[in-house]
C-alpha cells in the first residue's frame, strides 16, 4: 500500500525545464548576483573546460553587453601550449582583460621553491592569493564543482575567505533558497562557484549543446607519454621522463587539464563530443581519480589545499 494524501498525476508540468536549462539558469543568476553586489570580481580562467564553460555562461548572462569582470590565470609554467593558445584567442575574441600570475616568477626570485616531486600545482596557492590581494579582487569565480571531490561536496556557492584566503569548513554560512550572502570585511573575499551543481557529464553535454570550442587535448590524439604513478604524463621540458620511464606513443585524451606535471591522460579513442559523452557516461572512474596526482597525496589533500587558499 501507499499512504498518499493526494495523488497528483505522475507527470511533469509543461513548464519543467530540462536539467541543462535549470543549471544554466542557476549559474547565470549567480553571475548576475555577483555583478550586482561586488566591486571587483574576477574569473579564474585557465583555458580548461570548466573555466571555458564558466566564461560562456558569463557571456550569456550579460549579453549584449560585455562581461563586467576581468580574468585571472595562475600560470604554473608547465601548461599545455594548446590550452594557452585557446586561452589567448578567447581573451582577444571577447576583448577581455587577462591578468596572469606566474609561478615561475615566484621561483625565479626565491619567493617559492621547486618541490622535490616537481609538482607545481600546489605552488599555485601563493601566486593566486597574492594576485587576489594585490588587485583587491573581492569576488573570485572558480569552476569548481561539488561532484569533483568530497571536500568540495561541502562547499558553498558563495564561500567566504579570510584575509589569508583560508577556507574554514566549520564556519561556513548556511546557504538557503537562492539568497547568497556576499558580505565581507575589507581584505576578505568571496570565492564563487557558479558550476557547483554541475557534474562532469553536465559540463560535457552543455559544451555539446552550445558548441563551445575546447583545446584539442580533450579529444583523442597521438601523444608521446610515459607512465608515472599509474598515469600517462606528457614528456616535456617540465621534468619528465626520468631515467627508467620509457616514452611511448599512445592514443590518449585528457579529461581534466591542469599542469603537465600532475595531469594524466587516459587511453581513449573518443575524437568527437558525442564519443566523449558516451565514454564519460560509461566510465567507472571519476575525473580526478583517473588523472590527478595532486588529489592522491592524502585522504584530505583537497580539503587541506582549500584551507590554505586553493580552490
Amino acid at each position: 500500500m501507499t499512504a498518499t494524501v493526494t495523488h497528483p498525476e505522475q507527470r511533469d508540468s509543461p513548464y519543467a525545464l530540462t536539467h541543462l536549462d535549470a543549471l544554466e539558469s542557476e549559474a547565470v543568476h549567480i553571475f548576475r548576483e555577483v555583478a550586482g553586489e561586488f566591486e571587483r570580481p574576477v574569473i579564474l580562467f585557465s583555458g580548461g573546460k570548466d573555466s571555458i564553460v564558466m566564461l560562456h555562461l558569463a557571456l550569456k548572462a550579460f549579453a549584449p553587453a560585455p562581461v563586467p569582470f576581468s580574468l585571472l590565470h595562475v600560470d604554473t609554467g608547465h601548461n599545455f601550449p594548446e590550452v594557452l593558445d585557446l586561452r589567448d584567442r578567447t581573451v582577444a575574441e571577447h576583448s577581455l582583460r587577462l591578468h596572469v600570475a606566474k609561478v615561475q616568477d615566484y621561483i625565479d626570485d626565491g619567493r617559492l621553491r621547486e618541490r622535490p616531486d616537481g609538482l607545481r600545482n600546489p605552488l599555485q596557492t601563493v601566486p593566486l592569493t597574492e594576485g587576489i590581494q594585490s588587485h583587491r579582487f573581492d569576488a573570485v569565480f572558480g569552476g569548481g564543482r561539488r561532484d569533483e571531490e568530497k571536500a568540495r561536496a561541502k562547499e558553498r556557492v558563495f564561500s567566504l575567505r579570510d584575509e589569508f584566503s583560508q577556507w574554514d569548513p566549520r564556519r561556513q554560512r548556511p546557504e538557503l533558497w537562492q539568497l547568497y550572502n556576499g558580505r565581507h570585511a575589507p581584505g576578505e573575499h568571496v570565492r564563487v562557484f557558479p558550476l557547483s551543481n554541475w557534474t562532469e557529464l553536465d559540463v560535457w553535454q552543455y559544451i555539446a549543446r552550445e558548441e563551445i570550442e575546447l583545446p584539442d587535448i580533450y579529444f583523442a590524439h597521438e601523444r608521446e607519454v610515459f607512465s608515472r604513478n599509474g598515469m600517462w604524463l606528457t614528456a616535456g621540458e617540465w621534468g619528465g621522463p626520468k631515467p627508467g620511464e620509457p616514452v611511448q606513443t599512445r592514443v590518449v585524451r585528457y579529461r581534466t587539464v591542469g599542469d603537465m606535471s600532475c595531469t594524466g591522460a587516459v587511453d581513449s579513442a573518443a575524437t568527437t563530443l558525442d564519443a566523449v559523452i558516451t565514454e564519460i557516461a560509461a566510465s567507472r572512474l571519476t575525473e580526478r581519480g583517473a588523472t590527478r596526482a595532486d588529489d592522491k597525496m592524502s585522504e584530505a589533500a583537497m580539503e587541506d589545499r582549500k584551507r590554505e587558499g586553493y580552490f
Binding site: Y15, E26, A35, A63, A65, P174, L176, L179, E303
Partner: protein, 449 residues
C-alpha cells in the same frame, strides 16, 4: 522500470532535475540509504569505492563503511560525525538528482532547513522498530514549514521486523495523519531495508504485500515544477544591462531570474516599490527572443517605457501586485549561535534587495518536538529555534506570503557588523492548512515556488 545502465547522449538530453533532501536520526540508516542510492544507481565510481575501502581498512573495519562516501571533511572522518549539509549528484535515464544530504544529529534543525529550502521532495527516515519518534515529528514539521511539495516516509529496517505489513501500515498511518495536519500536501510511504536493498532501487521480494514504487522509482516519477499559471509572476531585478555600444546604443534590459509564475510580452506590469506601470516590450532568454518565459528561467526583460528601474526592484503583472510593507511578520529558523533578541538591528535580504531592519517583537517560539507547543514571548531565539518574528524595515518591501511563492516570500537576516547569516525567514503563517479531506484533484494552490 528503473534503468541504471550507462546513459546515451540522446537519453540524457531531455531529462529533468529533481532536488531533494534526506532527513533521519543518527541510527535510522540514512547514510546507508544514501550510499545505496548512489551505489545501486552506479553513481559511486570505482576509485571512490576503493578510497572508502582503503580508509575503512586503515581504521580496522572489515567492510567498507559507505558513510565515508558522504563524510567529506577531516574532522567528520576523525570524529565519525557529519558536520554539515553535503550535496550529491546522481542520474538515471529519466532524471538527474541533486541530493542535499543533511546530517541527522548535530544542529539538525538548521541543517535540515538549509537542505529543505531548495528541495522539491524530502525523504524522512524512520526505524521500523521504533516507529514515529520525536525526531520524525521534527523532520515532518521542518518539511511542512519549508513547504516542501512532496514528502516520502521511508520506513527502514523492515528486515528487522520480519517484513511485517502491519508494522509498516501503522507507522505510515500515524505519520501521514501528523504530516497532513501540518499541511504537507503529498505523502508517500515506502517500506524499505537500506541495508538489504529492499525497495530502494530494486523491488523487494520480501514484501509482496507492497504494490507501490521503490524509492528510486518514486524519485524518478514525482512531478517537478508545478503548474505556474495559477501563481502570480514575480521578477526581482538583479542587474541592469546597458551595453552603450554603437550596435546596442539604446538597449536597456533588466536581468533577473523569474521567481514565480510566467511573463508575457505585451503584458502590463508594475515596478515596485515605485509603483510605476508600463508593459513588457521584449524578453531575451539568454540569446533567444521569446514571447513568454517562466520560473526559474534567467532572462532579460525590456520595458516599453524608459522608467527608472534598478537592482532591488520587483516587476510584477499589474493585475496581481504584492503589497508593500515595512512591518514584516514571519516564521523564522534561527541559524546562528548568536541569539536573536528584540531590538536587534539587522540587515534583511529579500530577493535582490537588502535593507536595514529592527526586531520589534518575538511573539512565540515553537517546540517542534512536542506537538508544536508555543512558548509565548521568549527572551530570545537561540540556534535551531523556530519562532515568529515581527520586523520593522527601513524601506517598504514587496514581500509575498511564503505559502504563495517560496522565493519572494523568503528572506535572510544578516548581522550588519560582520556579515554573519543569522536567521532564515518565511513571511506569513508557519504551517499550511491541511489539504481538504475531499482529496481528488491535487491542491496545488499555494504550493508553487
Amino acid at each position: 522500470m528503473t534503468t541504471t545502465s550507462p546513459l546515451t547522449a540522446e537519453q540524457l538530453s531531455a531529462t529533468t532535475l529533481l532536488r531533494f533532501a534526506t532527513a533521519g536520526s543518527v541510527d535510522d540508516g540514512k547514510s546507508t540509504l544514501v550510499g545505496r542510492l548512489l551505489h545501486d544507481s552506479k553513481s559511486v565510481l570505482s576509485d571512490q569505492l576503493e578510497a572508502v575501502e582503503r580508509a575503512s581498512l586503515g581504521r580496522g573495519q572489515e567492510a567498507p563503511d559507505l558513510a565515508l562516501l558522504t563524510d567529506g571533511l577531516r574532522a567528520e572522518r576523525e570524529q565519525g560525525i557529519t558536520i554539515d549539509v553535503a550535496y550529491r549528484y546522481f542520474a538515471t535515464t529519466r532524471r538527474r538528482f541533486i541530493l542535499a544530504d543533511t546530517p541527522g544529529h548535530v544542529q539538525y534543525t538548521r541543517n535540515m532547513v538549509t537542505g529543505a529550502s531548495t528541495a522539491e521532495l524530502a525523504v524522512v527516515l524512520v526505524d521500523a522498530r521504533n516507529g514515529v519518534v520525536e525526531q520524525t515529528r521534527r523532520h515532518a514539521a521542518v518539511a511542512a514549514l519549508l513547504r516542501v511539495p512532496h514528502v516520502v516516509l521511508a520506513v527502514n529496517k523492515m528486515d528487522l521486523v520480519e517484513y511485517a505489513e502491519p508494522v509498516f501500515a501503522s507507522i505510515a498511518k500515524e505519520f501521514t495523519a501528523y504530516a497532513a495536519s501540518l499541511g504537507v500536501p503529498e505523502i508517500t510511504a515506502i517500506p524499505i531495508s537500506a541495508l538489504a536493498g529492499d525497495n530502494v532501487v530494486e523491488p523487494s521480494a520480501n514484501m509482496d504485500w507492497y504494490g507501490g514504487p521503490t524509492v528510486l522509482e518514486h524519485l524518478e516519477t514525482v512531478p517537478v515544477s508545478h503548474d505556474l499559471t495559477g501563481c502570480p509572476a514575480r521578477f526581482p531585478v538583479q542587474y541592469v544591462i546597458r551595453p552603450q555600444t554603437a550596435e546596442h546604443h539604446d538597449y536597456r534590459g533588466y536581468a533577473g531570474q523569474i521567481a514565480s509564475g510566467l511573463l508575457r510580452v505585451g503584458e502590463p506590469v508594475t515596478v515596485l516599490p515605485s509603483g510605476r506601470t508600463t508593459t513588457i516590450a521584449g524578453i531575451d532568454a539568454l540569446g533567444r527572443r521569446v514571447d513568454t518565459a517562466w520560473a526559474p528561467q534567467s532572462v532579460t526583460v525590456l520595458l516599453a517605457d524608459d522608467l527608472d528601474v534598478s537592482r532591488g526592484d520587483l516587476i510584477a503583472p499589474s493585475g496581481s501586485v504584492p503589497a508593500l510593507t515595512q512591518d514584516v511578520r514571519a516564521t523564522v529558523a534561527h541559524l546562528h549561535e548568536r541569539p536573536l533578541r528584540i531590538g536587534d538591528r539587522v540587515l534583511l535580504k529579500h530577493a535582490t534587495r537588502t535593507v536595514k531592519a529592527i526586531v520589534k517583537a518575538l511573539p512565540y517560539r515553537i517546540d517542534l518536538s512536542h506537538g508544536l507547543a508555543h512558548e509565548n514571548e521568549p527572551a530570545a531565539l537561540e540556534v535551531n529555534d523556530i519562532g515568529a518574528v515581527q520586523l520593522r524595515t527601513a524601506e517598504p518591501l514587496p514581500i509575498d506570503a511564503y505559502a504563495m511563492t517560496r522565493l519572494t516570500g523568503s528572506f535572510l537576516l544578516i548581522d550588519p557588523a560582520d556579515g554573519t547569516t543569522l536567521t532564515a525567514g518565511m513571511a506569513g503563517e508557519a504551517f499550511a492548512e491541511p489539504p481538504s479531506a475531499a482529496g481528488g484533484a491535487a491542491d496545488d494552490e499555494g504550493w508553487d515556488f
